[in-house]
């Protein structure tokens, strides 16, 4: 039974941090060894999960979804109606996608996604978040100084573009739909998906190029 006792969990945290080896690799190994010895998980399952995140789950999933929305108006409507349902058409649902919401960049709006309180992220559709997304600097600055943050990513917004920052404070997760670049008229879904980057789906990139991401 969980205690739901904040003081107790804080005391346990203090004890663990004071007594565990300081090397992160040894800390993770201690948990893995213990879980394996206790028969809670097989070491091969951990290996396979790591392989899955490296090869199967990642921003290519989000890119496929957006590429279809660009070429298929009905799917576009379904995506903006309920992105959590729409990604099920690809079998991409999973960790933190049930309440997914798509937000579109326009000529006058740029969207930027952050989670200031922890590091919420639509994992099953974008894979593991980049380290910077989880950094204190990004979490602190994205809401207060989004234009300064965007500049560090090489983005300068044209005059007349407002920034809308989405702070993921509940269980909704956000997927930025970038603007389809000129010069892609007639392209198929696969070619379009190849130019959609992870950062453009978080909002730290605005303009896509015609080269594969």
């Amino acid at each position: 039974m969980a205690s739901y006792d904040a003081k107790k969990i804080g005391d346990i945290h203090r004890h663990l941090h004071a007594h565990m080896p300081s090397d992160p690799a040894l800390r993770i190994k201690a948990l893995e060894d213990l879980a394996v010895e206790r028969g809670l998980v097989a070491r091969e399952t951990i290996d396979t999960w790591v392989e899955m995140y490296a090869e199967r789950i990642g921003p290519k999933r989000g890119a496929q979804v957006i590429a279809r929305a660009w070429v298929d108006r009905d799917f576009y409507d379904r995506l903006f109606e309920d992105a959590g349902q729409a990604v099920k058409e690809f079998g991409f649902e999973g960790h933190a996608t049930e309440h997914l919401k798509a937000v579109a960049n326009t000529a006058t709006t740029h969207n930027l996604v952050v989670c200031t309180l922890c590091s919420c992220y639509p994992f099953a559709i974008l894979g593991m978040s980049p380290l910077w997304y989880r950094s204190a600097a990004y979490r602190a600055r994205a809401v207060k100084d989004p234009r300064g943050v965007l500049e560090e990513f090489g983005v300068s917004l044209p005059e007349g573009v407002g920034v809308r920052v989405w702070d993921s404070t509940a269980e909704l997760r956000y997927l930025v739909v970038p603007q389809r670049p000129d010069g892609t008229e007639g392209w198929g879904e696969e070619a379009l998906a190849a130019i959609i980057t992870r950062d453009s789906m978080i909002g730290t990139q605005r303009d896509l190029t015609l080269e594969a991401a």
């Binding site: 969980a2 992160p24 993770i28 980049p130 950094s135 204190a136």
Partner: protein, 215 residues
């Protein structure tokens, strides 16, 4: 609580490492895998978060992200009596058990798909606010877990969307099952940060009804 995790708008962090990848070290990916594959019998997502929030602030600020996960996964299992502190620190089981069966890639992909938990719940009472209404947020921090960040306290914003009833995070962190109306509230950046902010910019937060009062 006014914990170390509540980073929105805090100053002094310097530049962002914009090229940082998802993982730099093997142990990072392994911790993610452990978090997703070692069963934990009880608790709620917000009680899990509240564990991280109750780390010592100096530890919170200085250890890597997946070390926080590691500490928290262990802490919650100790809290539930699943591991002893001695087992956790040593990484050795006091009573080994038969090994678990390995899961195949297909099983793990299926497990990932099944992880799309819904937090939406039916709610009889009608919402107090309609889209377009102006609301003001709570001014004082609550003692426990909350998802109203400090930077958005006592601020006036506009209801931009209504999402129906959702499990209320503050109660979830106490193991209570409470449903409240959830809204997206949009704040002008200048309301939150003063005249330094761009007049065109806004910040949207997803906030439950108990955080809000009519403005």
């Amino acid at each position: 609580m006014d914990g170390p995790h509540d980073l929105g708008g805090k100053d002094g962090f310097g530049p962002i490492d914009v090229t940082a990848p998802p993982f730099r070290e093997d142990w990072e990916a392994r911790q993610l895998a452990l978090s997703k594959n070692v069963p934990i019998p009880g608790g709620t997502i917000d009680w899990w978060r509240h564990g991280i929030e109750n780390m010592d602030p100096a530890t919170y600020m200085s250890v890597p992200y997946f070390v926080k996960w590691n500490l928290n996964e262990i802490a919650h299992r100790v809290d539930q009596g699943m591991f002893t502190l001695e087992e956790a620190v040593s990484g050795r089981a006091s009573q080994p058990a038969p090994p678990a069966n390995p899961a195949s890639m297909d099983m793990l992909l299926e497990r990932l798909r099944a992880n799309n938990n819904s937090f939406s719940r039916p709610l009889e009472t009608p919402p107090s606010f309609a889209i377009g209404d102006m609301v003001v947020t709570q001014t004082v921090a609550v003692p426990g877990h909350t998802r109203l960040p400090a930077y958005a306290r006592g601020a006036v914003g506009r209801i931009a969307a209504w999402h129906g009833g959702h499990l209320f995070a503050d109660a979830g962190a106490e193991g209570r099952h409470v449903v409240e109306h959830l809204y997206t509230v949009e704040f002008a950046a200048r309301v939150l940060w003063g005249a330094e902010a761009d007049a065109q910019d806004t910040v949207c937060l997803d906030l439950w009804e108990p955080y809000l009062a009519p403005a």
